[in-house]
């Protein structure tokens, strides 16, 4: 092969770059059971504990359902989002720490391909988690008021949420100097999740400051969007807010992640 041929080769099309990086990201994810098993099981364990211990909450006047399991199921999808932050962030931080990021920088790679590729594994894991939670929820006696089409919309919203959180993970991963630093975000994110309507509908939260925070916390609207499909059926407002918040977080986080990665790719 001549040098001229190398020069003629040029940068590959964006779709090829995305395809190959997505393939790597998916392989990397499915080959690490330690990334999949805790991220899928932990929300289910918490669901089981909550459903068993807080069933009496359904007796409160105004509680929207008589099944706490169905009510709490929505929260599992948000916890999956937290694991998406960790997984995506740690993978990217590992790439920068190990020098793999530099290896990719020495190819004609585009930032958008890198971002999309990194999120592919997160997307696949998110789909698997969403399907698992729905299956386990239904087997355990929960139900989806919106039926089968509702289950598909549920998966779509859960996937969007996972991608939004995954994009936050990209920001964390590119800014952290090590995967361990990304891990440090876990408790912060968990507190953020709990300060929402995850355990109780907002109108039933009696403590003012908690209700206030939950009202401003976009997590509440994403949970309520998911929950509407499980409990109410088709609630356009709840779905619009759920999808809207997830899409807004995705757009903002993806923009910041892209700028951060571009900045980190300080090649000339």
């Amino acid at each position: 092969m001549s040098a001229a041929l190398v020069a003629q080769r040029g940068a590959p099309p964006l779709r090829i770059q995305i395809k190959e990086l997505a393939r790597r990201s998916i392989l990397r994810t499915i080959r690490q059971p330690a990334m999949i098993v805790p991220a899928t099981l932990f929300p289910l364990i918490l669901l089981a504990i909550n459903a068993a211990g807080l069933e009496s909450a359904t007796n409160l006047p105004g509680f929207p359902t008589d099944s706490y399991l169905t009510f709490a199921l929505a929260f599992a999808f948000l916890q999956a989002g937290v694991f998406a932050v960790m997984g995506t962030g740690q993978n990217l931080a590992e790439d920068t720490q190990s020098g793999f990021f530099n290896r990719m920088q020495l190819t004609p790679i585009r930032t958008s391909a890198l971002v999309a590729g990194q999120l592919a594994g997160t997307l696949v894991l998110g789909l698997f988690q969403a399907a698992s939670y729905i299956a386990v929820g239904l087997i355990a006696g929960g139900h989806i008021e919106a039926g089968l089409p509702g289950a598909l919309v549920l998966i779509a919203l859960a996937t969007l949420i996972t991608l939004a959180f995954g994009s936050i993970g990209l920001i964390a991963g590119i800014r952290a100097s090590s995967p361990e630093n990304v891990q440090g975000l876990f408790p912060v994110l968990f507190v953020f999740l709990f300060l929402s309507s995850m355990a109780m509908p907002r109108n039933l939260i009696e403590t003012d400051w908690f209700r206030e925070i939950a009202t401003y916390n976009p997590v509440s609207y994403m949970i309520e969007g998911l929950r509407s499909l499980l409990i109410t059926g088709w609630d356009a407002e709840a779905l619009a807010l759920g999808f809207g918040c997830a899409a807004a977080i995705l757009a903002i986080a993806l923009t910041i992640a892209t700028i951060s990665i571009k900045g980190r790719m300080a090649r000339t």
Binding site: A3, P12, R23, R28, Q32, F100, R103, Q105, T107, P108
Partner: protein
């Protein structure tokens, strides 16, 4: 292995695959000048050894030459292209295996080849053919479908080299490629690097902290210390510059170290770097050795060991910086406070 050519004569390299560096500098936050205005020229097809202790500026230089780090002053052209303004063309012409084999432990060698080839715009057929050829050349055919997580350090380095060569680069950067490898893996890698330069005309810019590596492999050597090039030339010419051999005497009783230095002083210039004894660069050459032994006998100092050293690159380093390379390494580790390589060198970005 006979890697170096005589007197650093360049081999028949492909046209326009040299490196020209002028006044290149990189200053980090806090005013730290990791690389402080270096000039060097690597001829097409040559193996250039860039020797220096940890923290000397080797990796920062490589990062600038491979376009991963913009210089703060000076200029550099690699394969005929300016690293600051023609980054894409430089990256197209170079291959690099940087410090630590940058591999994904979850992927196999073949999957790395596929990814790297695709990102370089190689067709499936091209990357399959070239990948298989390189995998065989680095002796990984049997392990090509195994996850990298199970590879030894030597196997990882060899795969790293194969990936750096996949798109047929004209200039190859190897940043401490043999650090941490056993002697067998090290020798195998040296053979491959020598083959690339000798038979394929690839220009090789090799950083190392191993004197032996630079001595055996490089056509020419640049010695860098604290961001500045302190010596440059063929290993033979550099050693000839230092000229005289050194004798080191270790007394049987460590408390007689100073007395040993007194006895050695009349035979030449005392040099540091022998913690348990004394060493001197001999004024009249190796024939003084018998007189030295007699002087110690007459002086009543029992000797545990006497070593005569022909001039080495370490002597060159010592002559140019006043420190041995080993001492400089220890100093760098102490400055880093960890006993390891300073963070600046490990992650210049």
């Amino acid at each position: 292995m006979e890697a170096a050519t005589e007197a650093g004569a360049p081999r028949a390299g492909r046209a326009d695959n040299g490196i020209e560096v002028s006044g290149l500098a990189r200053e980090f936050k806090g005013g730290i000048r990791a690389v402080d205005g270096i000039d060097l020229e690597v001829r097409p097809g040559e193996i250039y050894g860039f020797l220096g202790p940890n923290g000397a500026g080797k990796s920062t230089t490589v990062h600038m030459l491979t376009t991963l780090l913009p210089p703060t002053a000076g200029s550099a052209r690699v394969a005929g292209h300016d690293v600051a303004t023609e980054g894409a063309q430089v990256r197209d012409a170079i291959g690099a295996a940087l410090q630590e084999a940058a591999l994904d432990p979850q992927l196999t060698a073949n999957e790395h080849i596929r990814l790297q080839g695709a990102l370089h715009g190689m067709s499936k057929r091209e990357r399959t053919r070239r990948g298989a050829e390189l995998i065989e050349r680095v002796g990984l055919t049997d392990a090509a479908d195994r996850k990298v997580a199970g590879y030894s350090g030597g196997m990882k380095r060899r795969l790293d080299l194969a990936l750096a060569l996949l798109h047929d680069p004209r200039v190859l950067f190897l940043d401490e490629p043999t650090t941490g490898l056993d002697i067998q893996s090290r020798t195998a890698l040296w053979d491959e690097v020598a083959h690339l330069s000798r038979d394929e005309g690839v220009t090789v810019f090799l950083t190392t902290q191993y004197l032996e590596e630079a001595d055996q492999l490089a056509d020419r050597v640049g010695i860098i210390d604290r961001g500045k090039i302190v010596a440059e030339g063929t290993p033979a010419a550099l050693k000839a510059e230092v000229g005289r051999p050194t004798v080191a005497v270790i007394p049987a009783d460590p408390s007689e170290r100073e007395r040993a230095a007194e006895l050695l002083a009349p035979f030449g210039e005392l040099v540091p770097g022998t913690p348990n004894g004394a060493a001197a660069r001999l004024s009249d050459g190796a024939e003084e050795l018998a007189n030295i032994v007699r002087a110690f006998d007459t002086g009543g100092v029992r000797v545990a060991n006497v070593e005569l050293h022909a001039p080495s690159l370490n002597d060159v380093f010592l002559a140019k910086t006043g420190r041995s390379l080993e001492g400089a390494q220890a100093e760098a580790a102490e400055e880093a406070g960890t006993g390891e390589q300073p963070a600046l060198e490990r992650s210049p970005a």
